[in-house]
Structures are given as structure tokens and as C-alpha cells.
Amino acid sequence: MDFLTLIQVLDSTVRLATPLLLACLAGLYSERAGIFDIGLEGKMLMAAFFSAAVAAVTGNVWLGLLAGIGSSMLLAGLHGVASITFRGNQLISGVAINFLAAGMTVLIAQDWFQQGGRTPSLIGGGRFVPIELPFAIGPADAAAAGVPLTQMLKEAGWVSQIYSELISGHSILVYLTFLFVPLTAWILFGTRFGLRLRAVGENPAAVDTAGVSVVGLRFAAVAICGVLCGIAGSYLATALQAGFVKDMSAGRGFIALAALIFAKWRPWHALGACLLFGLFQALELRPDVLEAAFGMKIQAQFLGALPYVMTVVILAGFVGKAIPPKAGGEPYVKER
């Protein structure tokens, strides 16, 4: 295994970790405020559909992104109304959202486009295209030189390999996502809003006593969750892919939940957990690399199962216990 192969695997890791990270941060806001959210998957799926549909109709990916965020926030609002206003069971509401999204996306897509629950393929301005950073070796340089891109990268130095392959060539949403991590850490641990948000997930009665609206804070958290899930879904449909296919989120919302527990509800750890799980997914695609690294054939499926196994181990308390926010899952009832 040469250095470039390693970089290519890491490059794939970044792409695969981005939707996980967005969904994981979305869950982080919601669960830190005491609202469990297993509907991340459904919100992503809904956003994937609406972003692709609007981008296909208007030809403008930014409008698609807005539509994706809007549809995801709508579902988040539904979750909020059910679990905050009506004090329903948060898990059941989340499950309902997942089913609702799985069914509605295909139904609307079929009615709208008659392509069997898909959107038309996105072309031109309907997609987020990879951004080539200055001085990076990209497809255009390879075409100009008349050699394959892989060949050209192989001949470049290692600094150039890291820069061209790993850092350059992602869509703008990827760079945004990685900025969200310090931003989230600052909001949660550096601002008054963040303090109150965390407090409302630990001891809402104390927040209420201080004269701060518990309901307002929780709705704010759920709304932020909706925005982030919306970006995650749009990234799947308009940046990684060129259109919506039914069930295209393929369980990523659940892996993000596992990552959230693995990270023990902390933003920087969430980055680490998502990159680790993304690395597993990337390695699963490269059995040749695994074989070279370990000297024997390793079942790729094992890597696919690893995130879940690790989460169970963490939950069982073998390696550092994961303790969720204390008031998580409980609707707040004001004392009279």
C-alpha cells in the first residue's frame, strides 16, 4: 500500500463522514436540549428528496438546498409539537417521522415526476460541484496533460498529494460541515444560549425557575437539528449524487446516532467518531487495502458492523460510560 492509496481512502472517508457528521451534530443540539431524536434518518431522507426535486425543477442547487432545509425543518417542527407541546413519547414520534419520510418521498416523487419514486438526474447548476482549490491537481490539469488523474497524482510529491486529493476537490458543503464543529463547540460551551441549552437538557426545572422559557429553548434546538439534517440530506442528493433515489439515506441517520453516543454528546468527539465510522465505511470499499495491511482476507461486512458493535460496547459501560443528558426523553411539565 503506497501513500497515495492511504490518501485516497482518507479522501473517501471525508466524503462518507460528512453526512454522518451533519446528522450527528443535529442530534447533538436536540439531545443536549433533552429531546431524543431518532428521526434524523427521516429528516435526511425528506431533505434529500426536496433538495433534488427543487434543484431538478429550477436548475438551481441553492434553491434546492433551501427546500431541503425547509422540508427537514417541517418534520423537525412536527417532532417538536408532538414531543414538546403535546408531551408525547419522543421515540415514537421519531419512528413515525422515519416512516413518514420513507413513504412520502416516494409517493410525492411518483406523483411529481412519474419516474418511479426518483427525481430526474440533476445536470449543470442543479448540483454542488467539487471545488478545486488553487494550485491543486484536478481533472482539468490531467485532461490538459493527457494522462489519467491517478497517474498524475502518483508522480506528484506527498504534500501535493495531500493537498490535491484530500483537501481540495470537495463540495462547499463539506468545508461548511467541518466549520460547524468549532462553531457548535463555541455555541454550546461559550455562549449564554449554549449554557441554557445544556441546562434545559439536564434540569429544565432550574431553567424555568430562572425565568427562561424551556419550551422556547427546546424548539430552538429542534429547529437547529432540522437545519443540519436538511444540509445532510441535500449533500447526499445534490453533491454526492445527482438526484434522489428511494431510501437513499440507507441508515446513515442511525449510524450518526451511534456516533453521537460514541462521542458522548460532545462536538469535537463527534468529529472524531464520525471520521472513525467514515473510515470504516471507506475501508469496507477497499478490500485490497485491508488485505495488504493485515496480510489476510478480512470480511468487509465486519467493518460495516463495527460502528454498532463499538456503540454497544460503549453503552454497556466497558470503555468509559456514556451518560446521556439527564432530562433527555422526558417532556417538561411545569409545576403549579
Binding site: 492509496t5 485516497q8 473517501s12 466524503r15 462518507l16 419516474q115 418511479g116 419514486g117 426518483r118 438526474s121 481533472p139 485532461a143 489519467p148 491517478t150 447526499l236 454526492l240 449524487q241 445527482a242 438526484g243 433515489v245 428511494k246 431510501d247 437513499m248 440507507a250 441508515g251 465505511q281 471507506a282 470499499l285 477497499r286 478490500p287 485490497d288 468487509a300 461486512q301 460495516g304
Partner: protein, 332 residues
């Protein structure tokens, strides 16, 4: 209880006799869905062609979960649909129990060839023969001497595809490097285009410049990424050349549409038994149309047509993964 039973029995037999008068065919699509641009869509095309030509109508259902298989079969059989056409290998188990309960109904099983029942028309395709031809084309089109294969769910059928493809590629160039990946081991592997894309990128970084996708909805992602990255891809089941004109080298056709069309046309007089549709029966083949004509050179076409006639005459024997449970040209 007995009264209830006899009442229900009477109702069931009423429903049966009422339905028998109609005897319209029924079609059960597999989980990929009617418009998967591939296997199920081919069945849909065949059924629509029959409906257009005869003015007849048919019932259909798109399965949404594994649990619906037997339920859907029984409902159509109870309603008197005849024949009941099912898509995909996964219908084999439910069919083996249901078919015996409805001896007067004829069933058609596409991609199933191993059941023991006298009212099932079992249709298998010689996918390895068709895949052999596109494998040859891939090897001839490849400049890097590396070709790729991306399968959907890891089942014997998909290995069967991969095996034929590898043999075809090796027939052209014995030293060719074949990179083969499966998307997953669960039915979700048929609908994960994001993973399909990543697999494509991974294979490109291993040098592949022609990639054959036999992966249902996941294949949409493979073809898309191949087109984006400027390499060639090969579609499967239906003609997928039009998805990215000039970027899809060819498509391995599996004439599910013909099988469904003929079953519907025969109606209740359908002949049952096990049938295999290979190159000789035009059950499999490769697609050539305006979209890929510039990519297929005359050398390529003559070589492939030559191999086709040799396979039909028996001069070339394409090893089947089913028969050997292993592949001489590719290890999994």
C-alpha cells in the same frame, strides 16, 4: 368455529370462481420497485407491451418489504389472477409453499429454476453468457488493462454475473486485472447509490477505466460517477445506454420483458416447467444503439458477435457459478 370456517370457505371459493372468470394476469415486482431502470422495469415494459397490444389489463403490486411476498402471492391467487408472475430469486421460498395450495393457478418465477412444482413456469437466464460478451467489450475498451465490477447484494446470482464478466475479460486479455466489489449483504444494497459512487471512485483509484454495474438502484450511482469521472460504465438488465449518452459502453440485456410478455400472452395456457433463456433464445445480449455506437468499434463488434455464435454452437463454454459454486476467473 365450524360455522365460521365453512362460511369463510364458501367466501373463498366464491372469490375463486368469480376471479376465474376474469383470469387476468398479475405481476409482482421485487423490492427494487417498478421503475428501477433495470430488472423490474424490464418486466414492467413487457407487461405494458402486452397490455397495449391486446388491450388487456393486469394486476400488479410493488413489494415494500420481505413480509409481503407470501401475502401478495396469496391475494392474487385468491382473486383468481392467472398466471401470477413473480420477479426475483427471493420469491422462491414463498412460491414453494403457496403454489401447492393453488394447483389450478399457474405461476411464473423469473430468476428461479430450482423449485419442484408442476404449476410453476420457472425462467432462468444465462446471465453469465451475456456478461461474458460485455466483459469482452470492457477488456477491449480498457486502456489501463483494469476493469471493474460492482454488484448489488452479495448473492449467487450476482456472483454469476461477475463470473461471466471476468471470463469474457480474460478471454480478450489473459493478464487483465479485474476489481470486483459487492455493495452489501442486505437488500439495502440494491438502493444505495452513494455507496455505489464511492465504490466507483475506489475502483477508479485502483486503475479501473470500465466498470460493469449489476446492482439495481445502486447502479444509478455507479453510472453517474463513472460519467462524472470520465470513464466508461456498463449497464445491466434494461438498456441503460441512454442514461449517460456516450459514457455507457453498453448494457447487458436480460430480456425479462420478453419473458413476461410471453407469459402474459400465453395466459392460462401457459406451459410450465423450467426454461433457460440464453444467447440462443435471445434471452440475454448486449445493447447497441445511437447512444453508444461511437464507443463500439467494428473490431469490437465482430469479436463479440463471433464469440456469441461460438457460445451458441458450444465452441466456447462459459463456466457457470451456479454449477461450480466457484469461479475459474475470479475469486470472491
Amino acid at each position: 368455529m365450524t360455522l365460521m370456517k365453512s362460511l369463510m370457505g364458501a367466501a373463498a371459493s366464491l372469490a375463486l370462481t368469480a376471479g376465474a372468470a376474469l383470469a387476468e394476469p398479475a405481476l409482482i415486482f421485487d423490492l427494487g420497485g417498478k421503475f428501477d431502470k433495470s430488472f423490474n422495469e424490464a418486466a414492467h415494459n413487457g407487461a405494458s407491451r402486452w397490455a397495449e397490444e391486446t388491450g388487456g389489463s393486469y394486476r400488479e403490486i410493488e413489494l415494500q418489504s420481505e413480509a409481503q411476498r407470501e401475502q401478495a402471492l396469496r391475494r392474487f391467487a385468491e382473486a383468481g389472477a392467472n398466471p401470477v408472475i413473480t420477479m426475483g430469486f427471493a420469491m422462491a421460498d414463498p412460491l414453494s409453499t403457496v403454489a401447492a395450495d393453488y394447483p389450478d393457478t399457474k405461476f411464473v418465477a423469473v430468476d428461479v429454476t430450482w423449485l419442484d412444482a408442476n404449476n410453476i413456469r420457472q425462467i432462468g437466464f444465462a446471465e453469465h453468457e451475456g456478461s461474458y460478451l460485455v466483459g469482452m467489450m470492457a477488456a477491449m475498451a480498457s486502456k489501463s488493462d483494469t476493469v471493474g465490477f460492482i454488484g448489488g447484494m452479495d448473492i449467487p446470482l450476482i456472483r454469476h454475473f461477475a463470473c461471466g464478466y471476468a471470463q469474457g475479460a480474460k478471454a480478450v486479455n489473459p493478464d487483465i486485472n479485474i476489481v470486483a466489489n459487492m455493495t452489501g449483504t442486505t437488500p439495502a444494497a440494491w438502493n444505495d447509490p452513494v455507496k455505489g459512487s464511492e465504490l466507483t471512485k475506489a475502483q477508479i483509484s485502483q486503475g479501473a477505466d470500465v466498470i460493469y454495474a449489476a446492482a439495481g438502484g445502486t447502479g444509478v450511482g455507479v453510472l453517474q460517477t463513472a460519467a462524472d469521472e470520465g470513464i466508461l460504465s456498463i449497464g445491466v438488465d434494461s438498456n441503460q445506454n441512454h442514461l449517460h449518452p456516450g459514457k455507457v459502453l453498453t448494457s447487458m440485456l436480460k430480456r425479462v420483458d420478453v419473458a413476461v410478455y410471453e407469459a402474459m400472452k400465453a395466459g392460462t395456457d401457459l406451459e410450465t416447467g423450467v426454461f433457460t433463456m440464453g444467447l440462443a433464445e435471445e434471452g440475454v445480449g448486449y445493447a447497441l444503439d445511437d447512444n453508444n455506437a461511437p464507443l463500439v468499434s467494428s473490431d469490437m463488434q465482430s469479436a463479440v458477435d463471433d464469440a456469441r455464435s461460438k457460445i451458441i454452437s458450444g465452441d466456447i463454454n462459459v463456466a457457470s457459478y451456479y454449477e461450480n459454486d466457484s469461479c475459474p476467473a475470479l475469486s470472491f
